[in-house]
């Protein structure tokens, strides 16, 4: 019997960069195919090709043994291919039944919605998936796991036979995961195929019949789940075919320092902000780069925003330089000695303004009580831009004209006019070329050497490993492990998360 879908030697490039360079992939009927790989390894590109979002540059794509050329996601849906994204696309204010039938509500003879029939049929659909809930209740009142199952029910109801699940377990608790897996097994028994993408390798191994590992736009490994196919096997294939071959310095064991003797600058005690993170406690020391690693959606972004006063915790205490800090707004955090560089340049920079105004904005009060002194602003901006090696070196240029790496340097320079006690950096090297990354690493290390405490939060293991002196791992909103004064490598970090 032909597989549900079969892709052979798929190539996809974006602006000359190979996202997929000759990938083979097949999904059998009545099976679950797990997909692992780092961010940017090509998993999502391949899934977008399957779901009709991207057309492949070359290669063959068969559905039920027939070649297909999807021009849109609509074409793919017509062949029974559906995707459930990590960010659910449910309508929380509509009822459960309306969500199951979204876009395809049953109508009666008058052409109006047949509410009774819709509720009955939705209830049946959900019971088939082992979910017994009131179809008339508002969907948003249910936990995220239930919402996810309702979206899955909608996808199944719409006739999908090939279902792509993107990170379905990242927001779920263990009992919710067990229920999801029970549902997925039922779906599998009905002869449909599921692609299961996840960073949680244990989940992949538990539910999948076969597993594919992606690396650098290629399928690095593929095997049926069975003896010998374990977490170590997946991790080794994710980061290189065996520890011996690893040339890149990031992949060697990195010796972490223990620098606990220096004073504590920032101390978190039992910080909780539902539903993002719970009971988070840690200390950041002067002269230390503290790395916090976790997958997307593990609560780091929210933790970082809370440290800068943008979000307020439900519980817990934050001390900065020994004093309890109640941060009501970002200005309070800045005044308490916290600096912050968010994960996206859109959130931190004024593209239309000249470089010097982007740098002076954080501490404008030190340049001007009432009237502006642009001369002083320019002079200070010039000093810091030059120190960090911003190219081009003029501070009058519009910020939007700079490259990404240089924009990031400007975002760092903004905090250096009055060095803060703690500098919180989220994804500080994301999307940069190698040279710019090295510059940022160098800047961060030299700031730590001057006695600043730096907290680096990232979903990329390389970023954390290349920067941090000490590493905390955040998993589903909790700090689960700490690495200090030991040797660590990427595989150990991945295994801990």
């Amino acid at each position: 019997m032909a597989p549900l879908i079969e892709l052979t030697h798929i190539v996809k490039t974006f602006g000359g960069v190979h996202a997929l360079s000759g990938v083979d992939f097949a999904l059998k009927a009545g099976s679950i195919h797990g997909l692992a790989g780092e961010n940017g390894a090509g998993k999502s590109t391949l899934m977008k090709v399957i779901a009709g979002v991207h057309g492949p540059d070359s290669g063959q794509f068969l559905v039920d043994g027939e070649p297909v050329h999807f021009r849109s996601a609509r074409d793919a849906r017509a062949r029974g291919i559906a995707m459930v994204h990590q960010e659910l696309s449910v309508a929380p204010d509509l009822s459960v039944a309306e969500n199951v039938f979204l876009g395809a509500q049953p109508v009666n003879r008058m052409g109006t919605i047949a509410w009774g029939r819709m509720a009955r049929e939705a209830s049946e659909q959900l019971k088939n998936l082992g979910l017994d809930i009131d179809p008339r209740a508002r969907l948003g009142d249910f936990p995220i796991g239930v919402q996810q199952l309702v979206e899955l029910a909608r996808v199944l109801f719409s006739g999908a036979r090939i279902i792509i699940l993107d990170e379905p377990t990242s927001a779920l608790s263990p009992p919710e995961i067990a229920r999801l897996f029970a549902v997925l097994r039922r779906v599998r028994e009905s002869g449909r195929g599921i692609v299961f993408i996840s960073h949680f390798l244990d989940d992949i191994l538990e539910i999948s019949d076969e597993v594919s590992v992606f690396r650098n736009g290629l399928r690095a490994a593929h095997a049926d789940v069975g003896p010998g196919i374990d977490k170590t096997w997946i991790i080794e294939n994710m980061i290189g075919a065996g520890r011996d071959e690893l040339g890149e310095s990031y992949l060697h064991d990195i010796a972490l320092k223990a620098r606990k003797q220096s004073p504590v600058v920032l101390e978190a005690e039992g910080l909780t902000l539902e539903p993002f993170f719970r009971n988070v406690s840690f200390q950041a020391h002067a002269g230390e780069v503290l790395g916090i690693y976790g997958f997307m959606g593990s609560g780091q972004i929210e933790l970082a925003r809370m440290l800068f006063g943008k979000l307020r915790p439900d519980q817990g205490r934050l001390r900065i330089a020994g004093a309890i800090a109640r941060l009501k707004r970002t200005t309070d955090a800045k005044n308490a000695g916290v600096g912050f560089v968010p994960e996206s340049r859109r959130l931190m920079l004024f593209r239309e303004e000249p470089i010097y105004r982007n740098i002076s904005i954080a501490f404008l009060e030190h340049f001007s009580k009432l009237f502006l002194r642009p001369g002083a602003e320019r002079a200070a901006a010039k000093v810091h831009a030059e120190r960090l090696g911003v190219r081009p070196s003029g501070v009058e240029a519009r910020l939007g004209a700079l490259s990404g790496g240089n924009q990031q340097k400007v975002a760092l320079a903004k905090w250096l006019t009055r060095p803060p006690k703690v500098l919180v950096l989220v994804e500080p090297t994301r999307g940069m070329d190698v040279g710019a990354k090295e510059d940022v690493v160098h800047i961060v290390k030299s700031l730590a050497a001057q006695g600043m405490a730096l907290i680096v939060l990232s979903t990329e293991p390389e970023t954390v490993l290349s920067l941090a002196d000490r590493v905390l791992v955040m998993r589903k909103g909790e700090l689960t492990s700490e690495f200090a004064d030991c040797a660590i490598s990427k595989d150990k970090l991945l295994a801990a998360a």
């Binding site: 200005t331 404008l364 502006l372 501070v395 939007g400």
Partner: protein, 342 residues
């Protein structure tokens, strides 16, 4: 610019690029010149010094309101309550001033030294309510000021009860309707307000915050700028500017009554937007507002000179406003595509 290698194409002189960058400044100015040219040819008595003074006088009250509105629009907010606040403030002032016997309203006559500060406090208070609603409760400024528009109109109605009040304190009477060496005080006050606002916006720390918050609200917040304070402050400034316009307006028109300032909302918004201040915040300023005021003033005044149907006049103003909006959005789009390409 700093380095030659910034522009991918010819560095220094690229007319197309300069035009795209400056479209929002060029278009209003070109419109003004065209209008002045047209009316000068169509009506010989238009281009006289006396009429120039007329135009200035006619736009003075709009100018005072537009000053506050410039702050608001620069932060990418909107204030729809300006006309109603001006009206309410005008009526509060007459409430605190002794009225002739035939004006049959209950009021609380006070000397001018008390009446004027109390009135200013009242309009600042209305602005603070708007500020509270927008920044603390989180009501979008469009909706919040819509409610304040109704509240301002309601206060006016309750205080004046369908009557017309005439008296205002002497100092207000002077500023609104007298002249200084032949120049109407109202023009001087409007010019001073424009000047002070320009200095605040382009030369003070607060002004910089206004532009930065409008340019990228999130980036401002993540730079430690107190975005709520800045937003609240511009809403309050707008209310006070409208209040001053209302107070002098009583003297200028000679009386205070309900719905007296209704048309000023649209005129003031039109002046700011026609002048080229971005509706998305962060670009523009008092210079643009001045050009916008002249465009509006010349248009309103000139249409009287060419003896056009007064009903058609409203339609023409609407069309001009629409064209200005199109240019405003278009200028924004040109800028963002350029940003994406670079």
């Amino acid at each position: 610019m700093a380095d030659g290698d910034l522009g991918a194409k010819a560095p220094g002189f690229d007319l197309g690029r300069i035009f795209r960058d400056q479209l929002r400044n060029i278009a209003p100015f070109a419109t003004l010149i065209l209008l002045v040219g047209f009316f000068s040819i169509a009506a010989p008595s238009f281009a006289t010094l006396g009429n120039f003074e007329n135009i200035l006088q006619q736009v003075s009250i709009t100018a005072m309101i537009a000053v506050g509105l410039t702050f608001v629009i620069l932060t990418a907010e909107i204030d729809l309550s300006v006309g109603a606040i001006a009206n309410a403030t005008a009526i509060v002032l007459t409430f605190f001033t002794a009225q002739p016997d035939y004006v049959n309203i209950q009021n609380l006559p006070l000397p001018g030294v008390l009446a004027i500060p109390l009135t200013l406090i009242a309009c600042a208070g209305l602005g603070l309510i708007t500020a509270f609603g927008v920044t603390k409760i989180g009501i979008p400024s469009f909706i919040m000021t819509l409610a304040m528009m109704q509240i301002g109109a309601g206060l006016s109605a309750v205080l004046v009860r369908g009557q017309i009040a005439y008296n205002v304190p002497p100092i207000v009477r002077t500023l609104g309707s007298k002249t200084l060496y032949g120049v109407p005080w109202i023009i001087i006050v409007a010019a001073l307000m424009l000047l002070v606002a320009h200095l605040v916006l382009s030369h003070t720390r607060f002004g910089r915050y206004v532009y930065m918050v409008g340019g990228n609200r999130e980036a401002a917040e993540y730079s430690g700028v107190n975005v709520r304070f800045v937003t609240g402050a511009v809403m309050t400034i707008s209310a006070v500017c409208s209040g001053i316009a209302g107070m002098l307006g009583v003297a200028y028109f000679g009386s205070a009554q309900q719905n007296e300032f209704d048309t000023f909302l649209l005129d003031a918004i039109a002046a700011v937007v026609v002048g080229g201040t971005s509706l998305f915040g962060g670009r523009g300023g008092i210079g643009n507002t001045i050009v916008g005021l002249f465009v509006l003033g010349v248009l309103n005044n000139g249409l009287d000179y060419v003896k056009i149907d007064s009903f058609l006049k409203i339609l023409i103003r609407g069309v001009i406003l629409l064209v200005a909006l199109v240019i405003n959005i278009y200028a924004e789009r040109l800028r963002s595509t350029r940003t994406l390409n670079s």
